[in-house]
Symmetry: C2
Subunit: 315 residues, 2 copies
Amino acid sequence: MPTVLTTPDSLNRTTAETWMRHFQQRLCAQLEAADGGTTFQTDAWLHEGGGSGLSKVLQHGAVLEKGGVNFSAVWGEMSERAARTLLMPNPAYFATGVSVVLHPRSPMVPIAHMNVRYFEAGNGEAWFGGGIDVTPIYVNEAQARWFHQQLYAVCRRHHPAYYPRFKQWADEYFYLPHRQETRGIGGIFFDRLTVGHDGSFEELFAFVQDVGDAFGPIYTELMHQNRALPYGEREQQWQRIRRGRYAEFNLAIDRGTKFGLETGGRTESILMSLPPQVEWHYNQQPEAGSPEAATLACLRKEVAWVAIQQNEYAL
Amino acid sequence: MPTVLTTPDSLNRTTAETWMRHFQQRLCAQLEAADGGTTFQTDAWLHEGGGSGLSKVLQHGAVLEKGGVNFSAVWGEMSERAARTLLMPNPAYFATGVSVVLHPRSPMVPIAHMNVRYFEAGNGEAWFGGGIDVTPIYVNEAQARWFHQQLYAVCRRHHPAYYPRFKQWADEYFYLPHRQETRGIGGIFFDRLTVGHDGSFEELFAFVQDVGDAFGPIYTELMHQNRALPYGEREQQWQRIRRGRYAEFNLAIDRGTKFGLETGGRTESILMSLPPQVEWHYNQQPEAGSPEAATLACLRKEVAWVAIQQNEYAL
């Protein structure tokens, strides 16, 4: 198992990479404790261009049917084509991050996604990205407000504009144009928070660490609140259909998946994000007035889940 | 239901469109007769830029679990970005074609795909494309040879180089680089057979008609030969896993899907190609020596399913 750190071309790389490694461990321990029924299996892999990854995948848990918490710190030179597609300022890159997707067994527990990442490009630019979003199979509006409130609280500790900006960014990013649906109830998403432009390395990294550390407590609370709710075949079928939308997003739209596959990432680690079972029916539409239709009605941009204090935002 | 033909900017458009419309009807009748357990449901739709389509979808048949035979004749102007992505010589386009994907219920009957299409671009270029390929869940090598032999026979009536060239093209096109697997045992694939350059409109259209007309007899024979073979849960699970690869290809790689979604095609018609049920497991590998491993071993480029007569190819 490769345990070497990268040769640090910058102290920031080592700092980010070390935190990411420890964060993965911590988060997996939290999720194992909350699930109570299984443990993560670990696969280490080497990246062709340079660097390595540690994939932690869990299957058949008490709450989580399938989930992955992936760490990687990789570098190399991507093709000109890939650099263009991925809007990279330069084909040389260093990237480290932790990426999480959790598919609970019960349709009453939302699917969760979290990612924190640090990039350096060959031209000297460095930036952070990340976010947290959830995809309920059935939207519980009170929980959706609570979830967004937690993200708002994390963001406002760092910058008053962060939550409104990153909430809107999540609405735009986690969107399936061909379905005219958001993937779920969103959350926060941010990319290219550039060192020097958007804050110092220390300031931006502190925010990203806070986002990462917020995820475990928020999601284990959602697991706890919903795991015992009853459901039947109807709810499971709706879950498989909604998981189909999740697969459509990850395979056809998500830039992170494209980046991973284009830069020679480990396919099984990248595609651990795909749901365990999926169904696609032709022209399936929920009945008017049904709980499924109520959920669909929430899957749109610009739902104001949190009342933002205007005087604060204006700062 | 819109039944108007397009305003013919060229006689060739009308000729191609009219044949495509009738071909869809004929093929659906053949498939209904072969299935024996259900009929196609028809949905007509209008295209925003201009033109229309007729989607014929079948679900819960005796052999076919889900399948679609889509006709469309559409035109418009695509965005500069879409034109670049799709390598179009010009953003203005006319496109007519029939596109087929059939997902049989039994894992012993291969998934089938067929497409024939005619394009005109705003700069005056016109071309044909198309192909037939199958994706067996379990490869039967004798049948694979028979299948390729049929395509070889169709191709050689038109040009001695067609089969070897279009067989190789299918190997390249229906390939999942992140899995290092072909989607199935291939078949033939061709694009941009350009009027004036690769033959006259009449010559190229005659070939495309032959490809289209070959599909019904070939695939109904495969349905007939395999529909009564026994299978159990093991084979069905392998089917759901292989269908996952099919979904990965169609959502992440296929240019036809991208073209449809980028140019505002009807989502339900385009994504009828997605399998009814799919499973994604982490790191699933078939046991060495199993029938599943034998199938995987066939899913690579350059398998010579047909012995090509060298003197003929050299013509």
